[in-house]
């Protein structure tokens, strides 16, 4: 496992930049099939509204997968990830149109640890609202 980023080159406060990922209904259908999570709140407006949601929402795990890409593309090797966790604080509502919604991800190195590990704090928004609470990735650098 070789991360493309060297531990010595990173400081607390190093920014990982910002990325925006689209999420449309078709992405949720494809993710349902690939993940095996067919909960209808992720593809059926009637069900979503019946349980009190504003409409179909993205799988939290879809949002979490997109957010991870900021870090895996930064280090190159996904095998460098040691820990990844988040709470899901607000839904990503995905309208039934051609544009869907957007998930915007930015990240900052919050802490350097031993064993070449750094803690990356992510910020994940959709429609201006934070959708993940304290999403954090621990990654081992080269």
């Amino acid at each position: 496992m070789t991360a493309a980023i060297r531990y010595d080159e990173v400081e607390t406060g190093t920014e990982l930049g910002e990325r925006t990922f689209p999420v449309r209904r078709v992405d949720l259908v494809r993710y349902a099939g690939a993940s095996g999570d067919f909960n209808p709140i992720h593809w059926n407006d009637r069900t979503a509204k019946a349980v009190g949601l504003p409409g179909v929402i993205a799988h939290g795990m879809f949002t979490m997968a997109e957010a991870a890409r900021l870090v895996t593309d930064w280090v190159g090797d996904p095998g460098a990830i040691v820990e990844y966790g988040t709470r899901f604080s607000n839904p990503v509502v995905v309208p039934d149109d051609d544009e869907g919604a957007e998930i915007t991800v930015s990240g900052t190195v919050k802490e350097k640890r031993g064993d070449n590990q750094v803690v990356v704090a992510l910020t994940v928004r959709s429609g201006g609202t934070r959708v993940l609470a304290r999403p954090t990735v621990v990654v081992r650098l080269a």
């Binding site: 496992m1 993710y31 993940s35 095996g36 593309d73 095998g79 899901f88 607000n90």
Partner: protein
């Protein structure tokens, strides 16, 4: 309906090992739109020191459908899946999941509690290879909206805040 506290600590071993294939990893990576070649090209993965293509960090959730899925559908638990949203998810990796893995998993119900009119159920899945070596631990907190019986503070805003996916 409140969640049955008697099931706290119950373990659900997956009925059989999960076989990780290149095709499933590729399908999952395509579903999240991630073109990282380590998910699809064995030669690139080997150049990085992996024996075969690796899986994206959130891929272990696929195994959860076999292990954690058995817990959430346990009729004794009393969980209405249509009212479930995902509250929290964590992974701790000893190594990435990769093609060719045969993975065992045991899911335990590690916490059940009420908060703001919702029931929070935490499942912890230990995923190991067939030699028993740890690969990844997945901790999954589910929010069953409106399921708590005491109803304290069960206003819509609190429900919406607690789980959202």
């Amino acid at each position: 309906m409140a969640i049955n506290r008697d099931l706290l600590g119950r373990a659900y071993p997956a009925p059989e090992p999960y076989e990780v294939t290149r095709g499933k990893i590729r399908e999952f990576a395509e579903a999240v739109g991630d073109a990282n070649p380590l998910y699809s090209d064995p030669a690139t993965a080997r150049d990085e020191g992996h024996p075969d293509v690796v899986a994206p960090p959130t891929f272990p959730i696929v195994l959860g459908m076999a292990g954690a899925g058995r817990a959430v559908t346990d009729p004794e638990l009393g969980l209405d899946f249509s009212m479930v949203v995902h509250g929290e998810q964590r992974f701790r990796y000893s190594r990435p999941v990769r093609a060719g893995d045969l993975l065992d998993s045991v899911t335990r119900i590690t916490d059940i509690r009420s908060l703001a009119g919702n029931e929070l159920v935490t499942l912890e899945s230990e995923i190991t290879d067939t030699d028993g070596a740890h690969v990844v631990t997945a901790v999954n907190m589910l929010v069953v909206r409106g399921a708590a019986e005491d109803g304290s503070g069960s206003d819509g805003a609190a429900k919406a805040k607690e789980g959202a996916a």
